[in-house]
Structure formats: structure tokens, C-alpha cells
């Protein structure tokens, strides 16, 4: 238990020594307690109020604006609450924005396309990431930390710049085409930039560490004795993997998959840098709706619809996250 006592911690304690309860502090505390403000409540209130103000209320506002009408005004939407002549308040909800989303092929296609791209990328991440996580979990403890660091390191460098790196690799006079043409394998460059292929590659590349880390955390805890027992009883390694390792690692698979799938659905940077003009993804549609068309109500409706679409994956993630936290 000594390990926690780092110099920083001790320094902090000394720093706060002067403000530790004194006679003055005690009387202030008594006053506050009399007013119903206990230390406990104050401590709870700080993060709660911050998140209410800057997380929950903003969502309520998006919800509200999604039911408003577009107007040429500043800000460009109508008020929901209107006061009649007889001072009666009336609330006008406009479902037009949502109807518009369903009727216009563009939005339906963008949702379906985002879901498809995110799903395929998630499966690919799982197929690439699972053997990697398993290999790291089965390596010696000394190597394990180094390998894990190698997986995490790209995450600490800029996401934007790592996506940008693929532009140099994939473009017509990029590294791959130069290499293949230099070796005489192809005569004309293969078009890879501004295709769905580039978007898949970018998403798999960017989100692979998010798949490996929860899988590793899960596989590391796997009891090797189970596999040995299976082998002793004559079970082939691959069958043992299917019957023991795979089912036991399900929480890791789900956590990793959700960590890839959810942000991939709303991805904006990768389709706009690597994708072509016809790579429709919902994050990009929302961006254009807001910044180019300046239609805030429709952009808000797109956001709410995306959230509804993601509620099930998000709840699945939280469920497994809580279960892992308890165990």
C-alpha cells in the first residue's frame, strides 16, 4: 500500500494543510450546515450541476430546436412557445423536420450507409484486433507492457494527422501506386482516394486500438487452466478456443465493438478527407446541413434521429461496462 504515497501526493497534502478545518472553518461549516448545505451535498453538487448545465440542457435545446421551424432570422428558427391575444400560451410542435428526414432519400440513404460502413468496419476491427489482443495477452509480462504501449502510442498522436497520412499513401501518385507502377505490376494508377474503400480503411485504422484494449483487458484475465483442462480431456485447441475462450471473452468483444461502432456511425473527419463526394455518412450530412445550408432545425432533427439510432448500442455498452466494473 506504500505505492500510493508519491511525492506529488504528499506535496498536495502539505499544500492543503493550511486550509484544513480550523476554528474558523468549523464555525463556517456549522453555519452552512444550518442552511442545509453539508459538505457531502456540496461535493455531489459540483459535478452534477456542471454536467446538467453543459451536457443535459444542451440536449434539451437540440430536442426543442428539432421541433421548430426554419426561419430567416437570427437565430434561424421559430419559437415553440407562442403567446396568443388572450394571453394563452400555446406550444407548437413541428414534426415537419422529422417527416422531411423520412421522405428525402438523401437522409435515409445516409443513415443506412453510415450503419453499413460502421458495421463492416467493426467486424473487420474485430477480425484484426482479436488475434492481436490474444497474442499480447499470451506473451510474457515484460513484453506485454511494451506491446500494449505500441498499440496505445498511435492513439496519443493526432487522429487528424493519422487520417491525413493515408491521403499520401492512397492517392493516385501516392506511395502504393508509385510502388506498384515502379515494379511494373500496373500501368495506370488504381483509384483509391475518394472511394468507400479508403473510408473503410481509415475507420479500421483509426479505431483498431479501441477494439484491442477492451479485448486485451478481458483476455488477460482468462484462466489458462480451463484451456489446459480441455486439452487434457482431448479437446483440440481450435475447438477449445471456440467453446471456452470465445464465449468468455464476449464482454470484451461487445465493449470493443461498441467503442468502434458508435463513433464510426457519427464519423465526420474520415469520410470528408478520404471519401468521395458520393460517400454519404450521416455525420457529414449533419455538418453540411448546419454549416452550409444553415438549417438548424433539420440539423437538430438529424442529430436526434442519430441518437435514437444509437440508443441500443450505447445501452449495450453501458450494460457490459457496468458488469465489468462490478466483477
Amino acid at each position: 500500500m506504500r505505492m500510493g504515497y508519491t511525492p506529488l501526493g504528499q506535496g498536495l497534502v502539505r499544500l492543503f494543510e493550511p486550509v484544513m478545518p480550523t476554528a474558523l472553518g468549523n464555525s463556517v461549516a456549522r453555519l452552512l450546515r444550518a442552511a442545509g448545505v453539508t459538505g457531502r451535498n456540496a461535493v455531489i453538487a459540483v459535478p452534477l450541476l456542471w454536467l446538467l448545465l453543459f451536457f443535459l440542457i444542451p440536449f434539451v435545446i437540440v430536442l426543442k430546436i428539432s421541433f421548430a421551424e426554419y426561419a430567416t432570422a437570427i437565430p434561424p428558427y421559430t419559437d415553440l412557445i407562442q403567446w396568443g391575444d388572450d394571453a394563452l400560451m400555446s406550444i407548437k410542435l413541428n414534426f415537419g423536420n422529422y417527416l422531411y428526414l423520412v421522405e428525402d432519400d438523401l437522409y435515409v440513404a445516409a443513415y443506412l450507409n453510415s450503419a453499413r460502413i460502421a458495421l463492416v468496419s467493426t467486424v473487420m476491427c474485430l477480425l484484426i484486433g482479436y488475434p492481436m489482443a490474444y497474442a499480447i495477452a499470451r506473451s510474457s509480462p515484460a513484453n506485454r507492457n511494451i506491446l500494449l504501449m505500441l498499440v496505445i502510442l498511435p492513439f496519443w498522436t493526432s487522429f487528424l494527422l493519422r487520417v491525413y497520412a493515408w491521403m499520401g499513401i492512397l492517392k493516385n501518385n501516392g506511395i502504393i501506386n508509385n510502388l506498384l507502377m515502379g515494379m511494373g505490376i500496373i500501368d495506370e494508377p488504381i483509384v483509391m482516394m475518394q472511394t468507400d474503400f479508403a473510408v473503410y480503411l481509415g475507420i479500421i485504422y483509426s479505431y483498431l486500438p479501441f477494439m484491442i484494449l477492451p479485448l486485451y483487458a478481458n483476455l488477460e484475465k482468462l484462466d489458462v487452466n480451463l484451456l489446459e483442462a480441455a486439452a487434457d480431456l482431448g479437446c483440440k485447441p481450435f475447438k477449445a478456443f471456440l467453446l471456452i475462450t470465445l464465449p468468455l471473452s464476449l464482454p470484451g468483444i461487445i465493449a470493443g465493438s461498441m467503442l468502434v461502432f458508435i463513433p464510426a456511425v457519427g464519423e465526420f473527419v474520415i469520410p470528408s478527407l478520404l471519401g468521395g463526394p458520393d460517400t454519404l455518412m450521416i455525420g457529414r450530412v449533419l455538418w453540411d446541413e448546419f454549416f452550409n445550408n444553415r438549417d438548424w432545425p433539420v440539423a437538430s432533427a438529424v442529430a436526434i434521429a442519430m441518437l435514437v439510432f444509437l440508443v441500443i448500442p450505447i445501452m449495450l455498452f453501458q450494460h457490459y461496462q457496468n458488469r465489468q466494473g462490478q466483477s
Binding site: P21, W50, A135
Partner: protein
Amino acid sequence: MKSILGRIRFLPVCLALGLAFLYIPILSLIIYSFNESKLVTVWSGFSTKWYGELFRNQQIIDAALLSLRIAVMSACAAVVLGTIAGFVLARMRRFRGRTLLAGMSMAPLVMPEIITGLSLLLFFIALEKMTGWPNGRGITTVTIAHITFSMAYVAVIVQSRLADMDPSLEEAAMDLGARPLKVFFAITLPIVAPALISGWLLAFTLSIDDLVIASFVSGPGASTLPMVIFSKVRLGVSPDINALATIIIGIVALGVLLAALAFKRQERLQGQDARLANLADD
């Protein structure tokens, strides 16, 4: 026996290929930052001229300084707020709003950035209409947005660290008459200090890396580094961005190396302590 050998070889090959996949793009960024040609991917000789070009680009330098300022401020605030949230969730079992707090401090982890960005911008505009604050958007609004989503990461780290920690230490201090505030600063905080450091670094990285949320909540004259990079690379590859990437990768690699060395040293000291303790027991 043969199939076991087969599997043993299969896994390291997968790992090596996967790591190559992760590192080849990064290596290509570094290599072509030293390329003389403006064509980025056509090698025409070694040169460091793009680094000179980068340091003469006032727009990029201003944006980098702004991003650093925002990242330091938001990481410090996120660590304070996130530690309180994590502590409350790990140590206070029952209070009104617990489910709400747990949900809200978990949600930013999985929320698509584009929704967070949109909702915060619409919130700031509505707030300004009602109260007059924030007067325009810029460094303050970006910092608030970054605090909000990175405090969730800190809260999760601190919460899991506290869940691993033995509460009997805190209870013992309380039994000996220490007040809750004193217990927190004398016992809890030193134990979670490593979690606070990793939380700070994570919050700093998330802030300095964020493009989408900053694009929504920032205003004219407050373009962060990712915003400047994005508007530049949208038009195509440019060698001075490669130079910038190489500098960032260098700083990160150096930081990770130092952290690893510090970790090793601490581990060795702990090993010595354990051996001494064993000797004393004998």
C-alpha cells in the same frame, strides 16, 4: 502437438502484421517530411526545408499556442471535476441523482462528437440570447466544451482506481478522528495520484486533438490547431503538415519513453521495498 505449434506461429504473425498496419502510415509521414519535393510522395532528396517553412507559418504557430493554452486549462479543470465525480460515484453509495450523475458522466464517452458539438453550440447561443454570456464564442466556449467531455474520461479512470482501492485505509483514518476533507487529501488523493496524472494527460490529448467539437463552438479569430490543419489538408497533401506531424510524433514518443522509464524505476524501488520487507519478516 502440430496444431498447437501452428497456433503459436499464427498469433505472432497476426500481431506483427497488425502493428505494421498501425505504424506504416506514421512512418510514411515522418519519412516524407524530409523530402525535398513539394509533391510529398515523390522522393527527390533529403531536406529539412519544410521544417523552416513550418516555423515561418504564423497561422500554424498561433493556432498551436492557442490549442496548448486550451488543452492545459481544460485538462486541469477536467481533472478537478472528474476526480470529484469519480470519487462521489465510487464512495457515496446512496444519494438523490446518483443514477443521473452516473449516466451523465458516462455518456460523453460514447456520444458522437458531432452531436456534442452541435448541442453545445446551440446551448451557448441560447444562453447568450437569455443572459448575454458568453459574449461571442472563442477560447472560453472551446475550453468549457473540452472540460465537459474530458472530465468523463477522468471520472471513469478515478472511479475504477478507487474501486480497486481498499476502503479500510480511509475508514481507519476516520476511526482515528480525521475529518472527511483531511481523509480525502491525506489518504485518498495520494493513492489515486497516478490515475490523476494519466487522466490529465488523456484530457490534454483529447483537447489538443479535437477538431469536430472545436469547429462548432469556436468563433472567428480562435482557430485551434486541428481546425487550421483540417482546412489545409482538405485541399490536398502539403509537406509542412508532414513536418508538423513528425514534431508531434517526436514529442509523444519522447513523453511515452520518459513515462516508461519512470514506471520502470518506480517498479524497481517497489521491488526493493518488498525485498526489504521480506527480510524484515524473516
